[in-house]
């Protein structure tokens, strides 16, 4: 491999040092423009949820991907930040203080960080199972306490508030969803930028080192425990910001925001996106939110698909979606990406049909088993048919079977093309 290829070997990995501004500018522009493309209220609501999840997932990945610490109770910090913000909102409303709404998430962030300091003090002495178990225990504890401590958590109904309480911020009252959208976008860009920069600071770099080899890091003069603690604090801060934005967006916080299910979801989201790359959680959050909102309108089984997708990710592409994308970088750099185009079409399209066909069968089984008596009609992919008749079953099974067969037979060709595309071009004048 020539020298040039060697020095250019590292793409935008978590270890790369290139601080290119282009992706950030593009992202900012996209954020600004998207509401004009998808301009109905429900789309904006979905996007708001997406961006909040992105911040939460990025904060979570500070621990999981950057620090190698698996936390099962991370929703606590987002929830606590959110609850505090709700209280602040109500307090300001009751006492008429002049706190501009855009600054509110900061309170959430600080409170989230404070909680993280408390809990991190006991949990960060280890990174593996002990850490995971403490996080699980604390998560369950806090979620359980939240039903008991009604003063802070509002019991069953949670705490609600009104975001239009205060003085308008430069004339904006945040009454409309679109105004909240831009507020969230602002915080998203700021938080993401800060988190990215954090990974480039000494403590951020040492977090990577401690993740890979905690013992070695000690002999670099760093206490592995303190490095983990600081990462934990920083993660708690940004989780709290996400919580604050949640409070602003939904104007209500409940026990659900703190519980283990929410912690589990953010783990899923982050892992799905890919923990090895900074932008992984961003992709995961977007994909999952779409699954959750869009897919759930189409089928009752969306959680089943999410679970299956998650499992498939762990088993077959643990690098997540980001990992999948980055796998193509070498072939792109070698100029061989076009070699993959045709094999992909030949294998992935039948593959996609196989998946859709299997999903169709699953839907049909579900409908057959659980549909109300007499209601035999179901709609799949814009076709309405009788789920109790034999013909649809045969049709779908055949399509799925054929697609599966095609996928299997074209797969070896794809494998070969992949190997071919990833072979570095033989350079005439190697050094």
């Amino acid at each position: 491999m020539s020298d040039k290829a060697k020095t250019n070997a590292s793409p935008m990995r978590a270890g790369s040092m290139s601080l290119t501004l282009t992706p950030w500018i593009v992202a900012a522009l996209l954020l600004m423009v998207l509401p004009f493309i998808f301009n109905n209220n429900s789309s904006i609501t979905i996007m708001n949820q997406m961006w909040i999840t992105v911040i939460f997932a990025l904060a979570y990945n500070m621990l999981l991907g950057q620090g190698g610490m698996l936390s099962f109770g991370h929703a606590v910090y987002m929830g606590m930040g959110g609850f505090l913000c709700m209280h602040v909102m109500n307090y300001v409303e009751d006492f008429g203080l002049a706190l501009p709404l855009p600054l509110l998430p900061l309170f959430g962030g600080l409170f989230g960080m404070g909680c993280a300091m408390l809990i991190g003090a006991i949990s960060t002495s280890g990174a593996g199972t002990r850490f995971a178990m403490i996080s699980l225990g604390i998560g369950e504890l806090v979620a359980a306490c939240s039903v008991i401590i009604v003063a802070f958590f509002g019991g069953e109904e949670g705490i609600s508030g009104d975001r239009t309480y205060g003085l308008p911020f430069f004339g904006i009252e945040f009454l409309k969803q679109i105004e909240v959208y831009y507020l969230i976008s602002f915080w998203l860009m700021l938080s993401a930028a800060l988190m990215y920069l954090f990974s480039r600071t000494p403590v951020g770099r040492m977090a990577n080192a401690v993740r890979d080899n905690p013992e070695r890091a000690q002999f670099l003069g760093y206490s592995s425990r303190w490095v983990r603690f600081y990462s934990f604090m920083a993660s708690g801060f940004f989780c709290g910001i996400a919580g604050g934005l949640f409070a602003i967006n939904y104007e209500i916080l409940t026990e659900e925001n703190l519980n283990t299910a929410s912690s589990g979801i953010i783990l899923l989201v982050t892992f799905l996106g890919g923990v090895g790359f900074f932008f992984g959680p961003i992709i995961g959050a977007i994909a999952f939110t779409l699954l959750q909102t869009v897919l759930s309108l189409e089928t009752e089984l969306w959680a089943f698909y999410a679970g299956a997708l998650f499992l498939a990710t762990v088993m077959y592409f643990p690098g997540g979606l980001a990992g999948l994308i980055m796998m193509h970088v070498p072939s792109y750099r070698f100029g061989n990406a076009n070699k993959l185009f045709v094999p992909y079409i030949k294998t992935l399209i039948p593959g996609l049909i196989t998946v859709l066909g299997s999903a169709a069968l699953v839907e049909m089984i579900f409908h057959y088993r659980h549909g109300s008596v007499g209601d035999n009609e179901m709609t799949l992919f814009w076709i309405t048919f009788d789920s109790h008749a034999l013909v649809p079953w045969i049709v779908v099974s055949v399509i799925t079977g054929v697609a599966f067969y095609i996928t299997k037979t074209t797969a070896p060709a794809l494998k070969e093309a992949w190997g071919d595309a990833n072979t570095p071009p033989t350079s005439g004048g190697a050094s």
Binding site: R200, T201, A209
Partner: protein, 252 residues
Amino acid sequence: MTAALELSGLTKSFGKAEIIRGVDLSIGKGERHAIIGPNGAGKSTLFNLITGRFAQTAGKISLHGSDLAGLEPYQINRMGLSRSFQITNIFPAMTVFENVRCSLLWSMGYKYSFWNLVASSKKLTDGADEILEQINLTERRNLPAGVLSYAEQRALEIGITIAGGADVIMLDEPTAGMSHSETDYIVDLIRKVTENKTLIMVEHDMGVVFGLADYISVLVYGEIIATGRPEEVRGNPKVQEAYLGEALEAEH
């Protein structure tokens, strides 16, 4: 003159098994001191005791006169003692350059700061490149450390160990598993980078030991049976009987 490292009455037992039985050793500043001994003599345990990996059962360890009892490894490191590991212990996911740069962070005063960016410090970058030059890995600068060859990884290991500017360097079998040419290369490297520093190393390769060391101590069953200049140790009948006899034969 304060010894760089002083061990007095050092004892370590794991349950009933006494692994280190009262070791007294004084290593002066700038010395190159090799610790040799048959397998199971307790050399790694000795290293681990000095570097704070586990606590001694009895006895005292002083670094430049300060007692090391109860200190954590990272604290000992900050006092100026650095070690390498027998099984290569680098950061495989980070690039070679970053491995070295991380080793410089503390010594350049960055501590746990989150307000400067490592990439923007010329001092860090230059410092790391300098070390890369010294260990001859400039060509491999941007490769993930995990893909380096074994000898290159060992060289990187040494680079990480000395980067922080520690003045007492402890190397645990630096040439383990290397071919002749690789060994010669590493020995030259060690000689170069440990100039003016105190070097303590555990080694099995007698060629390396006699070529590099000013002083040798022989550890057998947790006790030092001889210590002194290479020629003295070589001629010591106890040592010959316990250890060197077979090795010397093998060398001829």
